[in-house]
Symmetry: none
Subunit: 255 residues, 2 copies
DNA sequence: TGTTACCAGATGTCTGACAACTTGTAAAGT
DNA sequence: ACTTTACAAGTTGTCAGACATCTGGTAACA
């Protein structure tokens, strides 16, 4: 069996499934996540409202081309969040208004940099709180994961490769260490909205930006491990300042 | 409507479900719920803490005598509430302190209120920032809208009507006055999630809560109009404290 | 010594099957 | 004409087994 090193990951080059992955490396999302997004789209398009019944599990699984277990995992997640109510022998019913996420950064608010800056603005509020808590609450195991995440980020950035996924993994460790996973979930949503708006025309990472902010990432990492909340807040502020700079530069050089 | 005397009690015989409920009220729990309670017991007994790894799915399913799918449904539910983190290829890890229900409170209610408190926690971070900015940035026209929104809220609460929509409209005015609408967008999403989870079975407002917090709403309103950011922050904190109290009361009185 | 290759264990997904429940409807009975 | 019963179709709940995919550690190799 042949293995090849790509993006710092061992990849099986014998099965062409993995080759396909090379062509579209953005599909890192889990099947369940994709199903959830597809469901949101379906609900919006079909105009379903509170109380309406969703199609059966078998119908959904056939239509989306995934197993019934996967559909069930997605729907059960939603029931846990109170978005749907499942009745055995009857069906699954909407119990809340489900809005497609595109509202965050939709069509008209993407007026160049303005929308991006607003997103970063909200993100800063959340990130500051998260790193403060992470510095206080992180367990030893979590600190270890944060450290190794940073090491991975450093090597990827140094090699000039796409670092967004690695960066996101690094920050996810911090969100988890904060003690309230909902912060992380919202920030990741904001991040998705940000990149969807930013990379509309050129969907590639900026290598230079990675080099610039990797230093601050190191400070952030050390501050959390050392339990220094205020230093962590300073570090994340610097990182977000770099993001703001990036947006400004982009809006200046771009047309 | 037919009534029949059974065991010296008048019972509605139109639906024999009620009779069956009298005979076996213990079998109402689903397998998944039993699994969740068993897991809570195991975690408490084993003394697992945040960051610790749970036994594998196969081990749990064998030990509890249920299928692996059932275990997965339970654990996925927990992940949705942010109580555990599942890592593919690695394992399932605790991300919150899970305590067994005591006294009359059901395990389900305990876990649910835990999730609600996390939502309010995130919301507090955002709301504090929003009202601070609103107090600083609000224009005269926006202050006027906030004032009239509060007047409407006062009359609706006093009349004992459903006040949720009016309350949401009042807060929306504040979100807009903050100068960054994305804050409001996210808070409204959180509000939806909160109500969907909280009012899963009884979709009604609590009139008493409205009366209690309308005073703080007045303080918030005046502080923003006066441009006093710190007073506004204090007022919104009191409002959110009331929400937390409400959750606590619910999980104590619930059977 | 450091890289590589491999292995065990864990979660993710799919398939097929059956159980349990709900609901509507047609048949049977009065 | 009305009520009761029985049944069928549709839906979610649970189980078993299999394979895919990922993670972390270990042993072999250069």
């Amino acid at each position: 069996m042949h293995k090849t090193k790509i993006n710092n990951e061992l990849i099986d080059t014998d099965s062409y499934k993995d080759v396909a992955k090379l062509l579209s490396p953005l599909r890192a999302k889990s099947r369940t996540q994709e199903v959830l997004e597809a469901l949101v789209g379906m609900i919006a398009e079909a105009g379903l409202e509170i109380g309406d019944q969703l199609p059966g599990e078998t119908v959904l699984s056939e239509q989306l081309g995934v197993g019934r277990s996967t559909i069930r995992e997605a729907l059960n997640r939603w029931e846990g969040l109170g978005l749907v109510k499942r009745r055995r022998g009857s069906g699954t019913y909407l119990t809340a208004n489900i809005r497609p996420a595109r509202g965050l950064v939709s069509t008209e608010t993407t007026l160049e940099s303005e929308g991006l800056l607003r997103i970063v603005d909200v993100r800063r509020t959340l990130e500051v709180e998260v790193v403060r808590r992470a510095a206080i609450n992180a367990t030893e195991a979590q600190k270890q994961r944060i450290l190794s995440g940073f090491e991975k980020l450093k090597t990827v950035v140094a090699s000039g490769m796409m670092w967004r996924n690695v960066d996101q993994a690094f920050h996810t460790e911090i969100y988890e260490a904060s003690g309230n996973a909902i912060f992380g979930r919202i920030i990741l949503d904001l991040d998705d909205a940000y990149h969807a708006a930013k990379f509309r025309d050129s969907p590639f990472d900026n290598p230079e930006f990675g080099v610039r902010s990797v230093l601050a990432h190191g400070d952030l990492c050390n501050a959390i491990v050392a339990g220094d909340a205020e230093a962590a807040v300073r570090a994340i502020s610097i990182i977000l300042d770099h993001v703001v700079d990036e947006i400004r530069e982009m809006s200046e050089t771009d047309k």
